[in-house]
Symmetry: C2
Subunit: 415 residues, 2 copies
């Protein structure tokens, strides 16, 4: 899992990610007409993370950049993506690109949950003629739930009811799936045959707080397919689910024998459809808003041009709760294949994962304590202890040089 010392915060993480993205893709800041940030790493109750990123635009003179921050747990990246795509389709669109930044530093109090933290940021460019196309069918489920939330404002740590949160996640998956299938059919000319995960989704990505939930979720999708899609119940590959044919969905979120049977049934498809999209979340840990899109980046890094013509089914979940299921389609042409290969090459994922420095758990815990204290600090400037030497950072990364008594922050970029 990734973590930060006191020299990195949500602003430096976003500055590092956007600066790198714009440089490796050689995009002038003047091309950006909208910039949205999605995060639940809140260090200010008023000033958006997006405003910090406007520093990067200064040299270009372009300050006519719509969009601010979206917030609801791990879901906000999907909200920002939907907003930016709608902007491109709207009469307000001025022909420029939108930039969506999903980033979080996920931290937990000392104990069993601490290793489920992580850190990551994903930058997405939204515009016409993209190699990943948002399809029309999309379904949401939103609800007032207290499964995971952060009411203790002095603390960076959430209040979590883990078991309940898993149920909320799987229940939302069920509801979104049923609505998605219905909407997908409505979009098909003349009705068409029902949506099948096995036949119609070459890849499936989930919000990934930890990988076991991804396995369970994919299994749950196939259980839904078993219950809903005509013919599936007769498919010998689904035989192990037969004893659960009469199961009431709403009462089965903690049904362990069902879960085990579904995971077993799903195994033959998991390797092909799910595994290529879990590399980064497995390496960096939970990234909250960035998790699902780090899955997408993993898929592109692993499959590149092989994705041409494929459909990717996406499930986004944020506690509290907000959830959506939607799909991306890669056009079946050489331009899309080439574009995805180029994204994979520029993102340079294997080398960047390899270049990380490992730190032993005791040191990590000490940094968590330092960060916890700074989060709660009420007066005075921060005394920062983290590294300032360039070798501790990726080239081009930003780190915090000052957080004064008035809460203002300053950064330096590693040259």
């Amino acid at each position: 899992m990734a973590f930060c010392t006191d020299r990195e915060d949500i602003y430096s993480v976003c500055l590092s990610a956007v600066d790198r993205f714009m440089k490796v893709n050689n995009i002038p800041y003047s091309w950006i007409g909208r910039l949205e940030v999605a995060s639940e790493t809140i260090l200010d109750h008023s000033k958006a993370i997006k405003t910090h990123l406007m520093s990067l635009f200064e040299a270009s003179g372009n300050t006519d950049v719509e969009g601010i921050d979206s917030m609801n747990a791990c879901y906000a990246g999907t909200n920002a993506l939907f907003n930016s795509a709608a902007w491109v389709e709207s009469s307000a669109w001025d022909g420029r690109y939108a930039l969506v930044v999903s980033a979080d530093i996920a931290e937990y109090s000392a104990g069993a949950a601490r290793p489920t933290g992580g850190c990551g940021a994903v930058v997405m460019l939204v515009g016409p003629n993209a190699p990943l196309v948002m399809e029309r069918a999309r379904a949401s489920h939103m609800e007032n739930a207290w499964d995971f939330y952060k009411p203790h404002l002095h603390s960076p740590y959430p209040v979590v009811d883990g078991k309940f949160s898993n149920s909320c996640y799987l229940r939302s998956l069920d509801i979104c799936y049923q609505r998605f299938v219905q909407k997908f059919a409505q979009q098909q000319e003349g009705g068409g045959k029902p949506f099948s995960v096995i036949e119609d989704a070459q890849h499936v990505l989930f919000h990934a707080p930890y990988n076991k939930l991804v396995q369970k979720s994919f299994a749950r999708l196939l259980f839904n397919e078993f219950l809903s899609v005509p013919g599936t119940a007769e498919n010998p590959a689904f035989a192990a689910l037969k004893p659960f044919a009469a199961t009431v969905r709403e009462q089965s979120y903690e049904d362990v024998p069902l879960e085990k049977a579904a995971v077993a049934v799903s195994k033959q498809w998991y390797a092909e459809k799910v595994a290529p999209g879990i590399t980064i979340p497995q390496q960096l840990g939970n990234m909250y808003t960035a998790s699902l899109y780090a899955g997408l980046m993993s898929l592109i890094a692993n499959q590149g041009e092989k994705l041409a013509g494929k459909r990717v089914l996406m499930f986004s979940y944020g506690s509290g709760l907000a959830s959506s299921m939607f799909s991306l389609r890669v056009p079946e042409d050489a331009a899309a294949a080439k574009a995805l290969a180029s994204i994979a090459a520029k993102a340079d994922i294997p080398a960047r994962l390899e270049a990380r420095v490992s730190v032993d758990p005791a040191k990590f815990n000490a940094w968590m304590e330092t960060r916890e204290k700074l989060h709660a600090k009420q007066d005075g400037a921060f005394v920062l202890e983290g590294p300032t030497d360039a070798q501790q950072y990726f080239k081009g990364a930003y780190f915090l040089t000052e957080r004064d008594a008035n809460g203002r922050r300053k950064y330096e970029q590693v040259q």
Copy 2:
């Protein structure tokens, strides 16, 4: 100004506002396909205010409601409105309405700034065939500024550099105005004549932290018109601005003689164009995200059907900073006139302002202290002291009955 005891919080304020809106307008919850909340009153670092409002949807069974919370100081309502309007124009639109809720409780530490607080919520329904139409020209200015922000997470109060924030506001107004004028001209077939506030905007609304800034801002707009619109400099009504013809915009934000001259010049138009849009902000105080839209509600309450055929110029500002200028147009037809008269009647502003109960400053200060302590509270349930008897609330208002040690909140509705 309006304020809250410990029995009301940002969630209860939004619950009260949305429930009332849906009831007086007789709108079924199933008609809503998107719900966004804009606020900088942050009581949770993960769970969106929007999720609390999903409780109101429960009986309808409609949980397929996109959208979450937007955040950047007083600007977020404009962001949410832009998002919802774009959704209605996008291929993702499913024919239902969007609901935008802008709400804040603005509080300041004891001292000179405390009386500049306030509280308010505005609910907007976004859909086709509306009596207020968003026009295409819109211009933004976004920047990384530390003029007003809330880095002290244990406190409900902001850090404010008042003088600098005023400069940021007026500078943003200048930049947005110049861009808006340019874009407006581009939208006109065959070029058209330059946009003139005096001739083309029958009403002008500003984000209104306090009314003196509204006066200064309108004066500043006319100073811009004096500098930019051909013929204005020769208009005798602008004679008092002649000595400032060579003024450099960027150096004049604290130029008191210029400000005085511009306010004097603007007076003859202020009563007609600006005054009808300040009623609610003047009565309730600063409402942060709700301020500009409470101005719009004031205008509708005061002008109603007289707005048919009129254009309203809007300036939205949120510290940190984000700002936009855009315009709304009321169609010149009987249906729009009737719809606005109906909105005015249902909002029932004069009677609701009249029905408020006044509280003396010492009691208000005591509540501020209580609320400050609860905001900083780290452990245990809240002990609530505010009123629970129905007579202390508007009928249908929600109030807090419990905030447990885990941070979960429960509400009751006044019958």
